[in-house]
Symmetry: C2
Subunit: 222 residues, 2 copies
DNA sequence: ATAAAAATTTAGACAAATCTAAAAAATATA
DNA sequence: TATATTTTTTAGATTTGTCTAAATTTTTAT
């Protein structure tokens, strides 16, 4: 363990990282719910993580990661997402199967293992869910909108922007009932012309050309 | 965990498997030494493993794996050796770096993960140390002598047999000071003609052609 | 502003895996 | 065979991460 953290401690700081939006403190209860652990147990762990200087913690107030804690969390997220990428791209797991396995693999704590895995995979910047992978220094790109052409199969996404705003494209989109806020899911990707078969909303299926898919910007649907 | 065993319990049955030569019971002390754990702790664990029907155990007598225990041990060894192969062949670790990392990876317990990894690697039958990899049913080939042409770099081996017994080959071997019992280590493998550069005994370096390397049978030098 | 509700912490306990020290059993030796 | 030595087990503690129940603090609502 390079971080001198137990598996459990790693899970806590990862959870705190995910709950920490803006600078607001993370509540004991939210952690308790996310980790499916009694609130009393969370309190105990927060005291220990404070001792290890991984979190700032004040009774009845909540916690925030210290700089060391944030670095640690990013390393765990890096491991998790690289393993997800490996499982999906190399072993052929579907994007919805990889999370639980990566949850275990992420705690194997050899830095050289992860760096070599990163190199082997070709330094991917996004995992199969479209989430950014921190680099070896813990730098992470801001979660950004992606092109529909780059979205994995069966991942629910929401349309947030249209690249080319010409009337022609809007006509086409309107005909397909696609607009900002529409929920989509890529069902098939045809290698021949890179056209997509997508499901919009709850039922209808439609075909999208490569050109069109490169002009639809989407983001993960929560 | 498919086997319902903790990491620690898995380590115990793996250790028992390795100590169990012929049918003789494995002593508490031997386990204690191999696992670097106090004998008293081993006794406690053996009682628990007996309850879980992984071992036969009688106080002051020793233990043996049950059929379930043996199956479990072989699965752990399978995971260990497949990860070693992956680390060595795909990530570029040297054969002496892979053991400790595999020791951690072997406890990640998804069966489909290991079976897909096996397929991804092309169903290798030996790990980087030359040890056989059990298949998905737990079948393991008997440890056998291998051709020098198939030995990984830097692995110390001992010559046990010469394939072609012609005088010509023996003349060549005698000139190179190689005979049954000689210790060798492959230092380099030239892709061009698959010739090898080997170290014999303690000092001398010599070159071996592909043909010759395919007629020298070796075994691991523990 | 004060009582009721919600969130959090404290207290005390438990299971897993470990330890040391002491007791008991098995083995070796004289 | 009787005794000494070695091996193994039992007894009693410790650490980590967890729990429930009760106490306390904070927040919400009247």
């Amino acid at each position: 363990m390079l971080l001198n953290l137990s598996h459990t401690e790693e899970n806590y700081i990862k959870a705190i990282y995910h709950l920490e939006q803006d600078g607001k403190p993370v509540s004991t209860n939210d952690l308790s719910e996310l980790l499916k652990t009694a609130a009393a147990s969370v309190t105990d762990m927060l005291k220990k993580l404070k001792q290890k200087k991984m979190v700032h913690y004040k009774a009845y107030y909540g916690c925030n990661l210290t700089e060391a804690g944030r670095k640690g969390a990013l390393m765990i997220i890096r491991r998790h997402r690289l393993w997800e990428y490996f499982l999906s791209k190399k072993l052929g797991f579907s994007w919805d199967e990889v999370h639980d396995i990566a949850e275990e693999l992420e705690h194997v704590g050899s830095t050289s293992l992860i760096d070599k895995l990163d190199a082997f995979l070709g330094y991917p910047r996004f995992d199969p869910h479209g989430d950014p992978i921190p680099d070896e220094k813990g730098h992470i790109v801001q979660q950004q909108n992606k092109l529909l052409s780059e979205i994995p199969l069966h991942l629910p996404v929401e349309v947030v922007q249209i690249g080319d705003q010409s009337a022609h494209i809007l006509e086409l989109l309107s005909d397909k009932n696609i607009r900002i806020g529409t929920l989509l899911e890529v069902r098939k990707r045809f290698t021949y012309d890179q056209s997509l078969e997508i499901k919009t909303g709850s039922k209808s299926i439609t075909q999208i050309s490569k050109e069109l898919s490169q002009n639809i910007l989407v983001k993960d649907h929560e």
